[in-house]
């Protein structure tokens, strides 16, 4: 269910390294299911810095607000502006069109601390 081509963070974020070496970040299918219908995504500014483990944005459903935790450290090069008008894309395609930000990582070693899809599946199974 969770694709094997990316890394997973315990706070239900995924990171995929694209062809340009950028870290594409989104939330997992498990996370979007827990949140329910997403109606608002608070995106960071392009050029701002994300710090691994720190809050970088928010997703809101009708009833609740959840913080987004950065799985890596680096500078934001692009945000998924589709989400401003169609936040429900995160529900529909959490691993595809529903990505949230692209980041130029300052240190790729942080990836070693993240989980594989198999480890993440165990992680959510245990929760």
């Amino acid at each position: 269910m969770n694709p094997d081509d990316r890394y997973y963070h315990s706070e239900h974020e995924w990171v995929k390294i694209d062809d340009d070496g950028l870290a594409v970040i989104g939330i997992t299918d498990f996370a979007q299911q827990q949140l329910g219908e997403i109606v608002f995504v608070e995106l960071p500014e392009v050029g701002s810095t994300l710090t691994a483990g720190q809050v970088y944005g928010e997703v809101e459903s009708v009833k609740s607000v959840s913080e987004l935790y950065a799985p890596v450290t680096g500078q934001v090069t692009q945000v998924n502006s589709i989400l401003s008008d169609f936040p429900e894309t995160v529900n529909a395609e959490p691993y595809g069109e529903g990505w949230i930000v692209k980041v130029r990582m300052s240190d790729t070693r942080v990836l070693d601390s993240l989980m594989t899809s198999a480890q993440y599946s165990t992680h959510i199974g245990e929760e």
Binding site: E37, V39, F40, E58, V62, K63
Partner: protein, 379 residues
């Protein structure tokens, strides 16, 4: 979840439908079935049903019922000139603090049904009985002398009554199909006895969604059968408390506990229209008259937020000074923006007034508007 929480007669139906259940006012209630947004839009575009069995129902009966209720409640009960009429009204304390907002139905010549908020069931029942004791020695001229020949019963009928709301532009055409051929459908704020399918009910043309529709009163033991019968119509969607809240806020309808409470008076809550100035001598009337004459007080405003979703408790400010807090706030599925209410000084209450809303770490600009947020509903 509290294991002691009460269940409505529809609890098993909700579970069978896969509802996400939540505790509300001591009851286990459905928050949503498939999603708040979808259920909301089902009511705006088609037809939805809501379990309202948790709502408090008090029956007030007897030849003294009219005089007593006219003293207990703010609106003018004499407007319900014949059985079958209903009105929105308030119960206030002596300082004009709002104890509850209720719909009162005249269900007979000398019988009234009060539908109150679930969280206030006990409060309203106890308050009504306390006021009954006072009223029984109270005379309109202010003298204290026992009334003669009081005939009055106040009965809590909540547990033996079921209540389901059917709301949406398709609600009335659908109800017509469910009723005996040629049977009358009540007009707005009217109630009448009829049958839905095979089941005897009281059918009321009221609601809390801004759409046309009915509320169906029946015996608790018939409620599940009616619920299933309603869901046998493919146009009808089950809807939870989540969409009930977004639907009512889009219309600027008040929610007790969020938009008003014992600490708020009807004038500040913009409910002066159900406290007629020419009605004499009811509980809270002196205080309401005094507040009406004041120029400055806090007042409930409604506002939209384009770039954020207002949540209850968030701070509102103007020119860098905090002037109030969000009372109700949510996302509007019809408008796709944030909508909210809050109390601010009257000087900041005019439509078009810009206010600053503190949304966690950032501040966004919001604009005061006249409710309803959503126009052109089926109502």
């Amino acid at each position: 979840m509290n294991a002691e929480a009460a269940r409505t007669p529809l609890f098993d139906e909700h579970v069978a439908l896969g509802a996400q259940m939540t505790e509300f006012a001591g009851y286990l209630m459905p928050m949503q079935y498939i999603g708040i947004k979808q259920e909301h839009l089902a009511v705006r575009e088609g037809c939805g049903i809501f379990d309202l069995c948790h709502m408090a129902q008090l029956r007030v009966f007897g030849t003294s019922a009219f005089d007593f209720l006219q003293y207990l409640m703010t609106n003018d009960l004499s407007r319900l000139s014949v059985p079958g009429m209903a009105q929105y009204t308030l119960i206030c304390d002596d300082d004009a603090g709002i104890i509850d907002d209720v719909i009162v139905y005249r269900t007979g010549e000398i019988e009234y049904l009060l539908v109150a908020n679930a969280i206030n069931r006990r409060v309203v029942f106890d308050w009504a009985n306390m006021i009954r004791d006072r009223w029984s020695t109270h005379q309109p001229c202010g003298e204290s002398a026992p009334r003669q020949g009081i005939d009055l019963e106040i009965v809590d009928e909540t547990d033996r009554t079921g209540l389901i709301a059917l709301q949406g532009p398709l609600a009335i055409p659908l109800v017509e199909q469910m009723m005996p051929e040629g049977a009358d459908i009540p007009t707005r704020f009217k109630i009448l006895a009829t049958t839905i399918g095979p089941t005897p009910v009281l059918l009321s043309r009221t609601g809390y969604t801004g759409e046309d529709g009915v509320e169906i009163f029946t015996h608790a033991s018939n409620t599940a059968a009616i619920w299933r019968y309603l869901l046998s119509f493919p146009e009808i969607s089950p809807c939870g408390l989540g969409s009930r809240d977004t639907l009512r806020l889009e219309m600027g309808y008040h929610l007790y506990g969020s938009d008003m409470d014992r600490g708020v008076d009807p004038i500040s809550a913009r409910l002066g229209w159900i406290c007629p100035a020419d009605k004499p001598d009811f509980v809270g009337s002196d205080a309401i008259r005094r507040i009406r004459e004041q120029e400055d007080h806090r007042v409930l405003v409604f506002f939209t937020a384009d770039d954020a979703i207002p949540r209850p408790g968030m701070s509102l400010s103007a020119n860098g000074v905090e002037i109030g807090h969000v009372a109700s706030g949510t996302y509007s599925p019809s408008l796709c923006v944030g909508i909210a209410s809050g109390y601010v000084p009257t000087g900041y209450s005019r439509p078009g007034q810009k206010l600053d809303l503190q949304v966690r770490r950032k501040q966004v600009s919001v604009v005061v508007v006249d409710p309803p947020f959503v126009q052109g509903t089926s109502l």
